[in-house]
C-alpha cells in the first residue's frame, strides 16, 4: 500500500506485469474511488462549467462525456477532468484525487452569488470501479440488468448492476474498452466481489500507471501541472479557447499564437535502461528537457516514457539521451500513443 492523493492505495495485488496483461487480454478491475465525483447542478450549471472547463459543455448532449482540462487564469493546468452531462441541468466533474481541493476552491471562486448553480461533492458517498479490458463488456453484462450496448463510448447511463442502481460510464484510463461504474459505498464491496467471481482480475496503481502510459495518457502531477499550459502538454484538441466567457480564454488564445518553447513528447528507449520521472534529457551534450513518466511496457516489450523537450527535438525519430543515474542512454522520439488497441 502507498499513499496517493490522500488515500492508501495498493500498488499491486499479484504483480504489475500480470495485471497489465490481464487488462490488455481479458478484464481487470481498479478501485478508483479516490477520484473525485463533483456534481454541478442548477439552471446556470452548463454556463458556469463552460467558463471553467476547456470545452463548451452546454453543447454536450445529455448522457455524454467529454475529456478536458481546468486551467487557471495564466493558462496553467489545475487538473485534467472528465465531465459527464447527467441531465439538462446537471453535470458531474471528475477531479484527480490530489486535486479535489484545488478544483473545489477554483469552482467556488467563480460560483455565481445567486442560487443558479449548486455544487455537491458526492465523492465520499459513492465509490468508483473501473472495469477495463476486451472482456469488460462480457463481465459487466453478466451483472447488469439492462443492455450495456446502450452505453456507447464516452456515454453515461444509470442502470442496475448487481441489483443496485448506479451510474455506468464507458470511459477509462487504460487504452482499452471499458467502463467506470459508481456504486454507493454500502454496496461497492459486493459489486467488487461479484466482478471477481465473473473473471475480473484486481489491478493496482502500478498497472494503471503502465497502462495509461502505453496509451499515451498524461498523469496530472507527473506529466502536467499548473506551470504547464495545455499547448505544451499537447492537449490542443481538448481546448476550445475561442469563447468569450471562458475564464482563461484570452491568455490561452495568446499562448496558442506562440510556438511553445517546450513540448511533451513520447520516447522509446534504444539503449538498456528505464527512464524515470525527473531524469534529465540531453541531446548528447546539452540538457534539453526532463522526463515526466517512464516505465517498461510489457505490451510492447520496450521501455517507454514521456517528457518535455525544447522545440527542435520533437519530431518522430529524433535522438535523445536520457541521463539515467550518470549514464547517457539513447532514446528516440516516438509518436503517441505507444499502444492503440485494434477495434
Amino acid at each position: 500500500m502507498v499513499p496517493f492523493g490522500g488515500w492508501d492505495m495498493p500498488v499491486q495485488y499479484t504483480g504489475i506485469l500480470d495485471e497489465t496483461r490481464a487488462v490488455r487480454n481479458s478484464v481487470g478491475i481498479f478501485d478508483v474511488s479516490h477520484m473525485g465525483r463533483v456534481v454541478i447542478k442548477g439552471t446556470s450549471a452548463g454556463e458556469f462549467l463552460s467558463c471553467i472547463f476547456s470545452t463548451d459543455v452546454e453543447k454536450l448532449a445529455v448522457g455524454r462525456a467529454k475529456y478536458g482540462v481546468t486551467c487557471d487564469q495564466e493558462g496553467g493546468i489545475i487538473d485534467d477532468n472528465i465531465v459527464y452531462r447527467l441531465s439538462p441541468m446537471e453535470y458531474m466533474l471528475i477531479p484527480n484525487a490530489g486535486n479535489r481541493e484545488a478544483i473545489s476552491s477554483w469552482l467556488n471562486r467563480w460560483l455565481p452569488n445567486d442560487d443558479s448553480v449548486a455544487i455537491d461533492d458526492v465523492s465520499e458517498r459513492t465509490a468508483m470501479i473501473a472495469v477495463q479490458g476486451p472482456d469488460s463488456f462480457q463481465t459487466l453484462s453478466a451483472l447488469a440488468e439492462s443492455d450495456l450496448e446502450s452505453v456507447g463510448p464516452f456515454r453515461i447511463v444509470e442502470m442496475a448492476i448487481c441489483g443496485q442502481t448506479m451510474l455506468v460510464a464507458r470511459t477509462g484510463y487504460t487504452g482499452e474498452d471499458g467502463f467506470e461504474i459508481m456504486p454507493s459505498t454500502d454496496v461497492v464491496l459486493d459489486v467488487w466481489d461479484q466482478l471477481i467471481q465473473h473473471g475480473a482480475i484486481p489491478c493496482g496503481l502500478g498497472a494503471r500507471d503502465v497502462l495509461r502510459l502505453e496509451a499515451g495518457l498524461l498523469l496530472h502531477g507527473n506529466d502536467m501541472d499548473q506551470t504547464i499550459n495545455p499547448y505544451e502538454a499537447g492537449l490542443d484538441k481538448f481546448v476550445d479557447a475561442n469563447r468569450e466567457a471562458y475564464i482563461p480564454g484570452t491568455t490561452l488564445r495568446e499562448m496558442r499564437q506562440m510556438a511553445p518553447s517546450r513540448s511533451l513528447v513520447g520516447f522509446t528507449m534504444v539503449g538498456r535502461g528505464i527512464a524515470r520521472h525527473g531524469y534529465p534529457i540531453t541531446d548528447g551534450a546539452e540538457m534539453i528537457g526532463t522526463v515526466t513518466s517512464g516505465s517498461v511496457s510489457p505490451t510492447l516489450d520496450k521501455a517507454i516514457g514521456l517528457g518535455y523537450v525544447r522545440s527542435g527535438f520533437t519530431s518522430e525519430g529524433t535522438r535523445l539521451f536520457i541521463e539515467i543515474r550518470g549514464k547517457k542512454i539513447e532514446a528516440e522520439v516516438t509518436c503517441l500513443p505507444f499502444y492503440l488497441r485494434s477495434r
Partner: protein, 127 residues
C-alpha cells in the same frame, strides 16, 4: 515465507552463500524480490571488478522502482549471472538458485560471521 538455513543475510536484504574457502555467491532475498515486484533490469559488475563490503555493486530495477545492490563482502568479482540480462524475472522466480547475481573471490570468509543467520534475518524482518 521461509529462508534457506545454509546462507547468510544482510540488513540490505542480500544473501551470501559460501562456495569454498575463498568463493562466495551473492543474490537478493525473496523478501527484497517481493518488495520490488516484477524485476525488469539488473546491472551487475563485470568479472575483475572490485566490490567492497557495505558499498554499492550494482542496481536492480522493477516496474515500480530502482534500488541499489550492496555488497556483503570485499573481494573481486569472478563471475556474474549473464542470464539475468535477458531474463531478469528469474530473480522473482528463484531468488536463491537461478537468480544469483555475482560470484566473488574473497580473502577469507570469516567476515561473514557478522552477517545474519536465516533465523536472525526473519527476526530482523519482523522487528
Amino acid at each position: 515465507m521461509s529462508y534457506p538455513a545454509d546462507i547468510k543475510y544482510t540488513k540490505e536484504h542480500e544473501w551470501v552463500r559460501v562456495e569454498s574457502d575463498t568463493e562466495v555467491v551473492i543474490g537478493i532475498t525473496t523478501y527484497a524480490a517481493d518488495e520490488l515486484g516484477d524485476v525488469v533490469f539488473v546491472e551487475l559488475p563485470e568479472p575483475g571488478a572490485k566490490v567492497v563490503s557495505h558499498e554499492q555493486f550494482g542496481e536492480i530495477e522493477s516496474v515500480k522502482a530502482v534500488s541499489e545492490l550492496y555488497s556483503p563482502v570485499t573481494g573481486t568479482v569472478i563471475q556474474r549471472n549473464e542470464e539475468l540480462s535477458d531474463a531478469p524475472e528469474i530473480v522473482n522466480d528463484s531468488a536463491y538458485e537461478q537468480g544469483w547475481m555475482i560470484k566473488v573471490e574473497v580473502a577469507d570468509t570469516s567476515s561473514l560471521d557478522e552477517l545474519m543467520s536465516a533465523e536472525e534475518y526473519e527476526q530482523f524482518l519482523e522487528s
